[in-house]
Symmetry: C2
Subunit: 332 residues, 2 copies
């Protein structure tokens, strides 16, 4: 196996987040699904944006957040995702590259604009996401750079890639290339509603294709339609080489064969906005894994990164993640 | 004099802020003027953006920030400023309207894109602004709505309006309409370098036209080329009906005829980003003034709003300004 060119390649929907504070009543009044990611069309996006309060724009996208954080941790990160050649696309491109991520997916020259996610943050710090996929619908197998994929230690992909029409073909192509070159494939289940939409395909992936699985409690329970977390945990054992299951303030559980690690959550002063918690957990975990750390330490690294992101608005890190990791674990 | 339709009309450069953290060395390495607002052309903006870290986009513009805050305080606010009909223009329009401001200036249908200000926030919380004026160069007298101007208790304008070619004509037209209808005209000197650029014109305005002047210590010293703040203060006495002079952590001094009020700064836990401090001081002051509060209370109201904005990133309020004012002064 050739030396790796990248530690972590992330593939996902390239999205600019539009974040606004909202009262609890706004969620009900606008028929939003609290805490979930709901897909919306252009018309609904315009209407909802018109009713939202003043916003703040930050680059986002689940796997994009993960890639940015891996790079900020000092890892070699690459990203594939589709924007349009418009102002928000320029913002996305700038931000991910400025984080240190290699990003060269060609922007769409026509068609829908760069994707945006309208995020309402309620006083309980919960985020409710409403995604207009825009240019993401143009991501296809032609956007999977074979050399980059073959040269990445792990290729990490969002379950959300099952939403746009051709992105799952891109996903499958990347998975094949990675495995052909002896690399690992990692998946996040993304969202319990996303799991509902694609349960059979996700079960197949988890059982046969995915080496490193990320899921939160709701997602893994949904995948197996289990009664509780413990039942879901018994199902996932043995299916993936590694499963990292996050449980919010209860920390995470990492499983690999007979190994089970129960890891406490990292401390947080005030939870401000939970957007990106799972993305950052994956970043810390995969960065640590790519450096050969123990699974216990990978889980801890994930928790430290998740704690940073939920302590402020937005899903891209503000603090120096390397310094945080160094302070907490004595290495980064 | 007819009843007023608006409490405060604000006119300024309509700008989207792009805010990034930067190390102290970045300022010197890129020949930036620390703490100031420097005008840059499109080419320089592209080059600087390319070197900046990941950003966060927030609507800004000095008078735009003031208008948004007046509306959030419960005042009736209107705004005139020029964006283009592009994505950042839509962001600006959305945000100011969502704050409760009446904003109907027609966007430019061609020409340069919506203005942006590349803001570097250094670890000392100081902000260094680099403004590409873009579509702001298209603001002209035709954008001054006579009915709105005639119906606003006070028309507040930025000194920055002297930068784009035709905005000063818009400024003069608005000033004439306001005075013809017995309304007040207010000016902020904006920036000491801006004062350097237009000292003679600003002196003329302050001596003959402006009713309510806002300036910080550096700006008022620059205007009169005075040796110190006290000397500048003696110059300004008698020139304007009201002068509100801000002094950062030393609070503010409000002068009107023989009245002089020295007002302590409102407490701040941690200063995070000083962007918008002057804009928010003006908002609190003018809102209080439009309700007939005493000058002392106007100064206090300004200080409370300034304290909110410097405690977080961005120049549009995050906390409920009405509640803050109510808690601190027992009314809003």
């Amino acid at each position: 196996m050739a030396d790796s060119q990248f530690d972590v390649l992330c593939i996902g929907n390239a999205i600019v987040d539009v974040i606004a504070h909202a009262e609890e009543t706004f969620i009900g009044d606008n028929d939003l699904v609290k805490g979930a990611m709901t897909l919306i069309d252009a018309e609904r996006a315009d209407a909802l944006y018109g009713r939202m309060g003043p916003g703040m724009e930050c680059s986002g996208g689940s796997a994009g957040n993960t890639a940015a954080a891996v790079a900020m941790l000092g890892g070699r990160a690459a990203y594939f995702g589709k924007v349009r050649d418009d102002q928000l696309g320029q913002v996305f491109r700038h931000d991910i590259r400025a984080s240190g991520v290699s990003f060269d997916t060609a922007p769409a020259g026509d068609g829908p604009p760069t994707a945006r996610c309208l995020i309402l943050v309620t006083p309980d710090a919960e985020r409710t996401m409403n995604t207009y996929l825009g240019a993401c619908v143009d991501l296809g197998p032609e956007d999977i750079d074979e050399t980059v994929t073959a040269g990445a230690k792990v290729t990490y992909m969002e379950g959300y890639l099952w939403d746009p029409p051709r992105a799952k073909d891109a996903f499958r192509k990347a998975m094949s290339i990675a495995h052909e070159h002896g690399r690992k494939v990692s998946l996040t289940l993304s969202d319990p509603f996303c799991v509902d939409r694609y349960r059979e395909e996700f079960l197949h992936l988890v059982e046969r294709e995915v080496d490193i699985l990320f899921a939160n409690e709701d997602e893994i329970i949904s995948l197996y339609q289990a009664a509780d977390f413990d039942e879901a945990l018994q199902h996932v054992r043995g299916h993936c080489e590694i499963a990292a299951l996050t449980r919010s303030e209860k920390g995470s559980v990492v499983i690999s064969g007979d190994e089970v690690h129960v890891i406490d959550a990292a401390p947080v002063d005030t939870v401000v906005d939970t957007t990106g918690a799972g993305d950052l957990y994956a970043a810390g975990f995969l960065h640590a894994w790519s450096q050969g750390w123990s699974l216990h330490d990978c889980g801890q690294a994930g928790g430290i990164c998740a704690a940073e992101i939920i302590s402020h608005i937005g899903a891209r890190p503000e603090a120096n993640l390397k310094d945080l990791m160094q302070a907490a674990l004595g290495r980064s």
